[in-house]
Symmetry: C2
Subunit: 454 residues, 2 copies
């Protein structure tokens, strides 16, 4: 007796219904990317470890899945090296390849390798799985898809504007109400410059974020505890209390940051993005939020994040502008801006709000019941017409008990069942049953097509 098989922890099988839902998500995002002129690329699941290592910090290096070299992976290793049992060090001897950890580093590698074929600005999107040897937990997987779009080779803020339009369109199509949050790394740098505490910017945003919950006094106490001077805290007050419309916030920031060149640049960029989007009209609110501090080591300009309004869940999309995507591979001067939709979280949100459109999840539309060889032959001919009309349809392959065939239709949520017996064949028709209403009617093949297509 063979052992019951399992799958690696942190990985998942996707059933037909889950796949239909996931495809709906990917296709919606893909369609909008196409509308905006983004083109798809794919890169291999395996990259050279020399490409991946050192790009995600020490912690990231540990989370790379490494692939053992084929053949004799011991060659060139001394007994001493082997007996050192230094797992991390020997891994680089045993393995030269690893699974991709995100889509950004492979994209940077792609841009460098294909620089001569690419016409810049390059608007690419990529929807592929990534792998991380993270400790699995609820909502965190070792294999998951990323859906990234980036524009590289253009400094224009119109790219930021279009990415926000993409976000707005995608979530409108999903029917998920969201708030788009926007910030700018340059504003944060300006704040740090003004108060002379450049290294405390994360502490500051964390504290500001608590204003609603703990009140101003406690925020100031927390800032003091983090070692921020009273003078700096005084200067921070208008920023902590920043409120009102985006325009009002920007006015306040212009006053506070007037002495910081970089801060003012961030304000101007945000002003352009927000006012352009205001003119265009988004379906979802967009809000300047200084507490947004994702990827501070990476982003150099605008930073985005999207929050679902009707479900308690973390950020469901994020992104920003970065300089020097490809510098680490020896190609400088390539800046870009990108977004990444969190497909797994969007999946959960759509499930919780029950927002999947029926037609996205439905598969087969008509099941033909099989009563035997003659009826099956008759049905196969009708099926050809039905499928030629673009209707997904199937014949139960075996002349099984009616009950079994009906259960099959139910299990697959097939909305119509076609029943063909002696009488129907004699008349050149078939009995079409609506599985939801229970209504039955005797129809021709063309009538069936009309009813199902409706």
């Amino acid at each position: 007796m063979a052992a019951k098989p399992g799958i690696p922890k942190g990985t998942r099988d996707f059933s037909p219904v889950e796949m239909a839902k996931r495809n709906y998500i990917f296709n919606t995002i893909r369609d909008v990317y196409h509308l905006y002129g983004f083109q798809q690329i794919e890169t291999p699941a395996m990259e050279m470890l020399s490409t991946l290592m050192g790009k995600y910090g020490d912690e990231g290096d540990k989370l790379l899945f490494k692939i053992q070299n084929s053949g004799d992976y011991f060659s060139g290793l001394t007994d001493e090296e082997l007996l050192s049992r230094n797992a991390a060090k020997l891994a680089s001897k045993f393995c030269e390849k690893g699974l991709r950890y995100d889509l950004t580093v492979p994209f940077a590698r792609y841009v460098v390798m294909h620089r001569d074929e690419i016409t810049f600005p390059f608007k690419r999107y990529q929807i592929q799985p990534v792998w991380r040897a993270d400790r699995p937990q609820k909502g965190r997987y070792r294999e998951f898809y990323q859906c990234d779009a980036d524009v590289v080779g253009s400094d224009s803020l119109l790219n930021e504007v279009e990415l926000m339009q993409i976000v707005d369109t995608v979530f409108s199509r999903f029917g998920i109400r969201v708030c788009i949050k926007i910030n700018n790394r340059k504003i944060l740098s300006g704040i740090a410059e003004i108060i002379g505490e450049a290294d405390k910017i994360v502490d500051i945003t964390v504290a500001i974020d608590k204003l609603d919950k703990i009140g101003l006094d406690n925020v100031n106490t927390e800032l003091r505890e983090k070692g921020i001077s009273d003078e700096a805290i005084a200067k921070l007050q208008p920023i902590i209390l920043l409120s009102g419309s985006n325009t009002e916030k920007l006015e306040t920031l212009k006053n506070v940051l007037s002495a910081s060149e970089i801060g003012m640049a961030g304000v101007e960029e945000s002003e352009f993005i927000l006012s352009t989007l205001h003119t265009m009209g988004l379906q979802n609110p967009i809000e300047l939020d200084l507490t947004l501090a994702r990827g501070l080591n990476y982003y150099t300009g605008a930073i985005f994040e999207v929050k679902a309004l009707d479900v308690q869940i973390g950020s469901i999309t994020g992104g920003g502008r970065y300089d020097n995507l490809t510098g680490v591979f020896g190609m400088s001067g390539v800046s870009g801006v990108g977004i990444s939709f969190g497909a797994d979280r969007i999946f959960d949100v759509l499930n919780q709000l029950d927002l999947y459109p029926k037609e996205a999840v439905n598969g087969t539309e008509v099941l033909f019941i099989n009563f035997g060889a003659k009826e099956a032959a008759y049905s196969m001919n009708v099926l050809m017409q039905v499928r030629a009309a673009g209707i997904c349809a199937e014949l139960f392959p075996d002349a099984a008990k009616m009950k079994k065939q009906m259960s099959y239709a139910n299990a697959k949520s097939i909305p119509f069942v076609a029943i063909v017996g002696e009488n129907e064949m004699a008349e050149g028709k078939l009995m079409l049953k609506n599985m939801e209403s229970g209504d039955q009617s005797l129809v021709t093949a063309n009538e069936l097509i009309a009813v199902v297509k409706k």
Copy 2:
């Protein structure tokens, strides 16, 4: 200066144009699978090595990509074991996971793990990459996609019929002229039984296959050299010389195989499949071909293969019926029948015959030239209408030189360019240029939509 990055040998990046072509292939296959009621599943890239090992023979085990365990993979290993430097044996200590080698074993594992949720017959398809540490060579890659469809849990030959219809429909949609070859393992077993040379069946099919090239005498000589008795060779003559229509071939086989129960079963199955398909009418020829002997260790009934008629290339699709898909995982009695489209070869055939439909490969349909902030703002508003009408369009993000923007349109094969200057804005219109004909006309946004959609 960083080293120039590369990718693992045998793997590929896919550029936007390649991706568009590949998506056209996958979408065409997927659409037809859906029409026939197949549902998609996905399984993880990584499987437990216990799931994969021993399923593909010794050679296959060596070609598995193994993933090094995270953390201290030396634990539990003695110094002696380490110093033995037995790469194959220690791999199983260092690694417990591997990349999937095909879609069949993961599917079998899926069926066993999800048996309680699955309603049989289960019509599943799966389009995912697989990985093999094969020696890379022209047309053979270490990462490639498989596009499999299988029906499990039904013995009905209608499944074979429908799979042939699927093959016929897919290649008709591609515009690739093919010959569908069909054989049956039971016929081959019958032949072996009749001539008393059960273990020589592959030698026999190889020899028969050479009839056209080397003539009957040389075929018989080769059979004799393979150790087949004169008596058996005499009995084989009608089979070697088998020709004519499928019906004629089946008549000959009925005579030759009349004493073999299994042989006659194979003839009857083939007769049913071919005559049903004849009634339905295929667009491509289907031919009973006894030299078809793929997967003899695996297939137990019908065997299929598809050959392109206008390009010299190996089989571009194949499949067959198998018993006991899941026995190795402790679940017996699950038989099935499946096909697998060879996406990489189909890609090559479509390229060689230049059969990609324009709309499948095209991306952006209109590029708006950027002359500056005011013109860009005007264009962004028109773009909203154009995209809302479902047209893929973009604005060049920077006010770069006209020549650079036109080169961009050319490089991306964008068929229309919209030019917006002072005059156009004053009139509330834009100049639309057809990049192929060079024609220009002053149009409104709605007129642009109508022209581009035509």
